[in-house]
Each structure stands twice: as C-alpha cells, then as structure tokens.
C-alpha cells in the first residue's frame, strides 16, 4: 500500500520507455507514438521534469509526422494523418512553447476540412465519426486560437444530439454513455461556452456513481471495473460541471497511489496489472486535479 507518489520512479520509467523503441510493446504501438509522446511528456511536465528530454529531438521528430499536402499529423513517421495525432502534436509543441513553428493555417484547415454537414467531425478522410473527434477538433483549434474556422454552432448541435437520457454522452447519437465520451463532450461544450446544454445534476449523479465502494477507484460506466484512467475522465468532467464535491477524493487518491509499480515505476489501470505510459499519465493528471498533497 503506497502513501505517496513516487515521482522519481515514474520519471525514470517514462525516460526508459522512450528509449525502448524496439521492444514488442513499443513496435506494436508504433502507430500511436505521437499519443505516447504526449502522455509521457505531459507527465514529465506535471512532475517538473520536462527538461530531462531533448526538446529539439522531440520537436523535429514531431514535424516529420506532418503530412506535406494534407496538413495533419500521423501517429509516427510514414503513417497516415489523423486528428487524434494532430491534437497530440499540437499539444506537444504547446508544452515546449514551440507553436510558432507551425503553419497554423495548414493545420487548422486540415481539421476544419473534416467537419461534416451535421456538425460532426470525421477522424480522417475515411469518414469515421465520433464525438472524440469533435472534442479533438475544438480543443486543437482553441489552442491554435482559430475556433472561428469551424461552424461552432453546428458542432455543438451534433454533440448535444449525442446526449443520452441518463445525462451522459456517447460517441454517436444513441450510443451508450461512457466516461471518456462524456469528458470529450463536456470538454468541447466547456471550451465553446455551452455548458448550459448539460443537465449537471443528472450527469453529476451518473458520474459520482462511478466510484467503487471497495477500492475507491472509478469506472467508466455502470457495472464495469475501476480503472485509473477514469480518474481523469470522470474527475475532470465533474470539475467542469461543478459537481466534484459529490465524490470522495481521498479514496481516489488512495486508489491511484495503489496502482503504482513501486519496483519499476509507472502506474497501471489497477494494482494487479502491468504499467504503461497511458495509465501513468492519467494517474498523475488525476492526482493534480485532486490537489493531492502526496507529491
């Protein structure tokens, strides 16, 4: 049972993972290295250790992932562009305060070009629609300060059409509420000043009931297992709608700390599983939201 955040161990874990490019885990996730880089670097930044990496190396690698003609970024050099990796790329550049090297017009046009008639967003030219992409587009364009390149009103209308009778949001109209999708929809509505579309009490109750009695961890939807990444999705959603006081913070802190690997560093989805960068990031990010004094 852990009682504090082993920041140094996690930093070492991230830096080592960054170097281990040829392990099977790394190769099989080659295509989403841009996401992995964002998770790892943001965690380092939260722990005040962003200086441990070579900014120039990272930034120049990020730029090799941008598609010359399309303008969007891929998950790794050579792969196809997609909004998911475009957001991570922009976020990484923002972390290093290097947004100025971007051709903002090019990137924003890539994203704006993916908005559909009904206000939804496709992930790429192949047309998969999901409210995750609505959030990604809105978040990315807001960082680049050009939200006016899309039809915000229609984007909001589409997100609202994905609102369910339990107050939550799904990936497409009629899809089941899921904490990850809720974070995306509530986040997009927050950025665009449209939180009045959310029934805060109804959604707040649904979200606060994600807490598991025994472990104190949060799950993503009813009758599922708790998972550290929901510490972020559920918690930040609750904060945005001012209902975070409906959940017990102390228990979540304890759950996240228990998910640390005290030997190798890193955080996993639950205390028994193997760690990874994804859950390390969400665990640390969740703790920062909880104003935890444990770091």
């Amino acid at each position: 049972m852990a009682d504090k955040l082993e920041a140094d161990k996690h930093v070492r874990y991230i830096l080592m993972a960054e170097k281990k490019k040829e392990s099977f885990e790394s190769v099989v996730m080659d295509h989403l290295r841009m996401n992995g880089a964002y998770w790892g670097l943001t965690t380092l930044d939260l722990l005040d250790k962003l200086g441990s990496v070579s900014q120039d190396e990272v930034v120049s690698w990020v730029m090799t992932c941008q598609h010359e003609s399309a303008g969007g970024f891929a998950g790794n050099t050579g792969h196809d562009p997609h909004v998911i990796y475009t957001l991570s790329a922009v976020q990484i550049l923002a972390l290093f305060d290097k947004l100025s090297i971007l051709d903002v017009q090019k990137v924003s046009s890539y994203i704006a070009g993916l908005q559909n008639e009904d206000g939804s967003f496709s992930g790429d030219i192949w047309g998969e629609v999901d409210t995750r992409f609505s959030y990604i587009a809105i978040c990315c364009l807001s960082i680049l300060k050009c939200l006016d390149k899309i039809n915000v009103e229609k984007a909001v209308d589409y997100i609202v059409s994905c609102k369910n009778l339990d107050g939550g949001f799904g990936c497409t109209p009629g899809a089941e509420s899921h904490a990850g999708q809720i974070f995306c929809c509530v986040g997009a509505l927050a950025i665009t000043g449209n939180l009045h579309h959310v029934d805060k009490d109804l959604l707040g109750w649904w979200l606060c009931e994600r807490q598991d009695y025994e472990s104190g961890g949060l799950n993503g939807r009813p009758e599922k297992l708790p998972d550290v990444c929901y510490s972020w999705w559920v918690l930040s959603s609750l904060i945005m709608i001012d209902r975070v006081h409906w959940i017990e913070n102390g228990k979540i802190v304890k759950f996240i700390l228990d998910c640390q690997d005290m030997d190798n560093g890193g955080i996993s989805d639950n205390p028994k599983d193997a760690v990874d960068i994804f859950h390390t990031y969400f665990g640390v990010a969740g703790l920062s939201l909880l104003e935890s004094k444990n770091n």
Partner: protein, 677 residues
C-alpha cells in the same frame, strides 16, 4: 495495460518477445513501402492481412486496404460476383481482426465502410452481432454497429425493443440493453405509436425495471432507467408559468431613490434610482421566445412602449426559466395603476424541448407609485444589528408563495397513481441505498404534485430523514445527499407561509425592508428560488454554499450576505452578475484563493483566454492583475456595489483590495471602512 498482469518477464520470454518485435518491424516496413508506392498486388494485400492479424490497431493498414479495394473495384467490369468476393474477403479480414481485439475501432469502421459499398449481404451481420454479444454484452462497439445495421436494413424500433426484452430477460444486469431500450422507447412514446401511450406503457416499464433493482439492489443497471421513468412520469411537456414578480393580485409600492418615509413597508415595496421596476417571469423549464408580442403588458404607466425581454442565462443561450423586463414609472407622478400581463398572448414561447406554451395566462397587479422623500439613507448595512421580528398578516405572504400553476395536463391521474404505487414498492426496499434514495425522490415528486397546503409539509420530515440515513449509509456520496437535503429543506421552508414567516425579519436600517434569514442552516445548495422572487435582503451566512447558482432569478436582491460559506472563487459568484440591483455583498470568511482547482470557471459567462474580450480602462492599465484576478475582475466590474466585504479569504490583502477599488469605483464601504475623500 488491461488484462496484462504485472510480473517480471523471464529471459526466455524476453527473447521470444524480441524475436516477435523484429518480425513485426520487418512486416511494418515492407507494408509502408507498398503503401507509399501504391502497390496493390495480391501479394502486397496479403502482407497487410498478415499485419492486421497481428496488430489490428495499425490504422494505416486499414486505410491501405480501402485504397486497395477501390483500386481493384475500378479495374473489374462491375461483375457482381467479383465485387462480392472482394468485399467478402474484407469482411473476413475484419472478423479475424476482431477475434484478436473485439474493441478495435479500425476494424469496426472498416466493416461499416465495406457494408456502405452496398454489395455485401447484410443478413449475416445480425448473426455476427449475436456472437459478439455473447462474448461481451457490454461491448459498445457491437451495440453501435448494431444501430448501424438496423438503420441500413430499416429494422423497426418495435423489433429492436423486443431484442432488448430478450437481452434483459436473459440477464437484467445489462446497462447497455437498458440504455438502448430507453432510446427506442422514448422515440416510440414521442411518436404516440400504436401501443405506446405513456399512461399504459410507463407503469409496465416500472414493473420491468423492478426486476433489475429488487433482485440486486447494489447493481446499477436499472437505476438510471428508473430515474428516466420518473422523469417521464413527472414532467409535463408543456411549459408552464411557475411564478412571477409582481404576483397576481399583489400591490407593489414604488418610489424613487429616497424610499418611503417611515411607514412600515410591506413585502412589495420597491425603491429604484433608475425609475423602473423589474417584471419577472419564472417558468418550470427553459423556454425561448418571450418578447413583447408573446407577452403583452396592459397598463397606464407612462413611458413603456415595446418592452425588451431578456433571458437570465449564459451568454450564448437564448433560453431560460427566468425572463425579465423593466417597467418604467415616474415617481413625481404618484398614483395607482393596474397592470395586466398576458403570457402567451400569441404563439412563440417554446420550451427547449420544442413544446409550445399552451393557453394564454393572465395576471394582474397594482403598481402604487409614491412620492419620493429627499432624505436618503446611505449608512452601512449591518447584518447583526437592527432587526425586528416580522409581524404581518399572512395573507400578504400567501399571495407571494402560492404558485398559481395551471394544470394544463389532463392525464394527471395516471401520474399520481404511478408515483403512489412506486412509493409503496420502495417502502419495502428501505434498507438499501437505492431504496432510500428512490423513496426520497418519489416523496419529493409527490410533494410537487400535491397542491393542498394542509397535506404538504408532513412528509418533508421523512424525506430529510432519508437523506440523513443516506449520508451515514453511503458516506462516499455524503455531499450529494447533503445537497439534496438542502433542497428538500428549502422546499419545506417555503411550503407554507407559516414556515417561511419564521425566517422573515425587518431591517430598521433600510426602512423596515423585509429580510429573509437563512443563516446557520448547514445549507450546501440554494433552491426554491421561484417562491422567493420578492426577496430584497438575504442572509445566507454561516452555511456550506460553494456557489450562488440559482440566485440569478432574484432580480430584486439588493443586499446579500454570503460570509462564512465555502465559496472558492469569484467565478462561483458569476450568477450575481445578473442581479443588477445588488448593492451590498458580503463574501468575507470564505475560501477564495485557497484552491488551485476552480470548479466553476467553465460555468461562468466570462470568456476563456482564447476568446475575445474588450478590456476597459482598468483592464488596459493593469493587465497583470486582470490575469491574476480574472474572475474577480469580470464579476465585480459588472456589479454596482456600494458595500463589499472580502476580509478573511486567502485572496484578501492590500494588492487585492486596491485592485477592487479600481474595478468598483462607486464603492463606499470596503470591509467595514468608509472609503473616499
């Protein structure tokens, strides 16, 4: 990593893993070459099949396959057999990828893409879905794909509803099935489809969901469905006017800035420097379309042409429960004027759900304009001295808190019966958390339906006790039950003129203005504001409030005490920006500045740093301070405060105080000290 246990790997395992990595790396680089060189030979396509079998998440490979398919299709002579065999092969690859990872976004989307080509047989898709449902009945990818297939094949909603019947009867603990059911049923009910009349259908659904809740009270699968049924039972679609100020049959005494001389003022006295008084409409749900054509005003008060109605809402929203306009009066023209308001005079008032305000509703009040007295009172307002017990005829109060709500709904009977039956059922489940919570909600619902004053108030004690029980039984959600408790408590306080009168006092310092004192009541949340529109002086000190959400409707509020609460930032006070009459505000001894996380910053109307805002002089001269105290800046600059208390907060200090003096130039009293000269 989901499903991968945490354990140190043995050297044999590491060696095997390294070999796999080398193989995959080689496969990936060969694939990339094919993709970049646009090579779509059978051999190249087969390579991508191998890659996707090992790694279904390699999204670029799915893109490549789509390009390969399009390339192939463009070269054959649209021979249906050839087309089908190409597309069938794609479906086979998807199925094999899904066996590796049945949650792969790329695989599911590829399948949808193939089916959209229009050639493949769809009959097998439902069979495939059944297979996946058996593997994992909560797989939302499968449920989404099911919706996609249903739309493509035009399967009826009734058939799909039967499918959810099967799923639920097989295993009630299937939230995904209940969710789907709610979507289908709400659509059928909205259409008034055959056999889907709410008064028959909803009671049946209650019976169905009981099986889920009563079998295992800790299983959440049925909870949210039950709550939805409750909402369907209670909520009348047609928007109604809940309350107004001035209220029907009341007399409002109006005067100029000086206020009345000595005479004990009644409830409905209003003094204004601007020579106008607000007219407030409070609806039971958010509506749009309130204007001078949909709400007509008939009076002899001079100077009131076409009135401008405004919704009290967030910046972007054109709908609200609360609408306000202002009627002008001339205090040098003392007289009694009758004012007749007709709400819904012409169609146009529509709820945010799309339902029209029904029959026009008329109310009448009298505006009694008085002469102004030159002697104005500019002393400091004290919250502790100068209060007398209020002592007036209760019928004055009655007219203010009795809600003259029309019962436009004919089908009231089935709703009441449904609630009564549920109350009986859940009385049996009274030991469990969901039992107590549902019972509390049902009793609250019943209170809202009962109009007989004598019967009201009796069951509030039971509701409050249930929430107290829940705070102990489910301590993780203590604050949720606390908030509900506060709401029920305020409903109780405002349920009768007798209970409300115990909280009313007269403040001598402002010509016996009526003050509502709700201090020291452990209130964590504000409620029942629709019954408190008359309030001009409100003491909410020594409570547990962290936000002023709800107070925006109190358009007459001029003095507000929020000291000794749990306010964490000025953004939590954003709703006060709508309260233009506010002159006296006490937020001393709160938690402003204590927390790094601001839970109300996205709810307030203030723009985020990436939006446009035009700084005023203060903003231009002090950009650093505006950034540091941005929420205080946006909230305070919109208020016309004369008296402000901010001591006892983490943010308090010389820097903040001097910043405040710049933003609020008309301030006379700060933290009890007179300013100026």
């Amino acid at each position: 990593m989901h499903g991968r246990p945490r354990k140190a790997s043995k050297p044999e395992e590491e060696a095997a893993s390294a070999a796999k990595a080398v193989k995959l790396r080689s496969l990936q680089s060969q694939f990339m070459t094919n993709h970049h060189d646009k090579i779509y030979t059978n051999e190249a396509i087969e390579l991508s099949t191998k890659l996707l079998e090992i790694n279904p998440e390699a999204y670029t490979a799915w893109n490549y396959r789509k390009l390969a398919v399009e390339d192939c299709l463009s070269r054959i002579e649209s021979d249906p057999n050839l087309v089908n065999s190409i597309l069938d092969e794609e479906l086979r690859v998807v199925e094999s990828a899904l066996r590796q990872n049945f949650k792969s976004y790329g695989a599911w989307h590829h399948r949808k893409w193939v089916l959209s080509k229009g050639h493949s047989s769809i009959g097998d898709e439902l069979k495939l879905l059944d297979k996946f449902q058996r593997l994992d009945s909560r797989n939302f990818h499968a449920w989404n794909y099911r919706r996609f297939v249903v739309e493509l094949t035009n399967r009826s909603e009734q058939d799909e509803l039967h499918y959810t019947d099967d799923m639920i009867n097989n295993n009630f603990s299937n939230y995904s099935a209940w969710h789907n059911r709610s979507v289908l049923l709400s659509s059928l009910l909205a259409q008034n489809a055959d056999g889907f009349m709410p008064n028959e259908r909803i009671p049946d659904e209650y019976d169905l969901v009981h099986s889920a809740i009563f079998t295992d009270p800790d299983d959440q699968s049925g909870w949210f469905y039950h709550l939805w049924l409750l909402d369907q039972t209670l909520n009348v679609e047609t928007p109604l006017l809940t309350s107004s100020w001035p209220s029907h049959g009341s007399t409002v005494s109006l005067s100029g800035a000086g206020c009345l001389n000595g005479s004990s003022s009644k409830f409905t006295t209003f003094c204004s420097e601007s020579g106008s008084f607000p007219l407030i409409l409070y609806f039971d749900q958010a509506v749009g379309g309130v204007s001078s054509s949909t709400v007509t005003t008939d009076s002899e008060l001079k100077g009131n042409g076409d009135l401008v109605w405004e919704p009290i809402s967030y910046k972007n929203s054109q709908v609200s429960c609360v609408w306000v306009t202002h009627l002008k009066y001339v205090s040098s023209d003392p007289c009694e004027y009758k004012v007749k308001i007709r709400v819904g005079n012409s169609p146009g008032i529509v709820s945010s759900r799309g339902h029209n305000f029904s029959a026009p509703y008329e109310f009448v009040f009298t505006a009694h304009v008085h002469d102004t007295v030159k002697d104005s009172q500019e002393g400091i307002v004290s919250w502790t001295d100068g209060f007398d017990i209020w002592d007036a005829k209760s019928k004055d109060l009655n007219s203010l808190i009795t809600l003259d709500q029309l019962e436009a709904e004919i089908d009231f009977k089935w709703r009441q019966e449904a609630i009564d039956s549920e109350v009986e059922c859940f009385g049996i489940l009274s030991d469990s958390k969901i039992g107590k919570l549902t019972l509390a909600r049902l009793l609250m619902a019943r209170e809202a339906m009962v109009s007989d004053d004598a019967v009201k108030g009796v069951r509030y004690e039971e509701i409050l006790q249930l929430y107290n029980d829940l705070m102990a039984l489910d301590s993780s959600h203590y604050q949720y039950y606390k908030d509900e408790h506060s709401v029920a408590f305020l409903h109780k306080v405002t349920s009768s003129s007798e209970s409300l009168s115990r909280h009313l006092f007269r403040y001598r310092g402002m010509n016996n203005l009526v003050c509502l004192r709700l201090n020291n009541l452990s209130l964590s949340r504000i409620a029942s504001v629709e019954k408190l529109l008359f309030v001009q002086m409100l003491d909410l000190s020594h409570n547990e409030l962290h936000s002023t959400e709800g107070l925006e409707a109190m358009q007459l509020l001029s003095c507000l005490n929020l000291s000794h609460n749990r306010i964490r930032s000025f953004s939590a006070l954003d709703s006060l920006r709508h309260v233009k009459q506010l002159k006296v505000l006490d937020v001393s001894h709160n938690h402003i500045g204590k927390h790094s996380v601001d839970t109300t910053r996205y709810l307030c109307s203030s723009p985020l740093s990436n939006s446009e805002w035009s700084p005023d002089d203060v903003g231009r001269q002090n950009p650093g301070l505006v950034t540091k105290y941005w929420d205080a800046y946006f909230v305070l600059r919109d208020l016309n405060l004369k008296q402000l208390d901010i001591a006892g907060n983490e943010i308090s200090g010389n820097e903040f105080s001097s910043f405040v003096l710049q933003i609020v130039p008309k301030l006379v009293w700060l933290d009890g000290q007179k300013l100026g000269n």
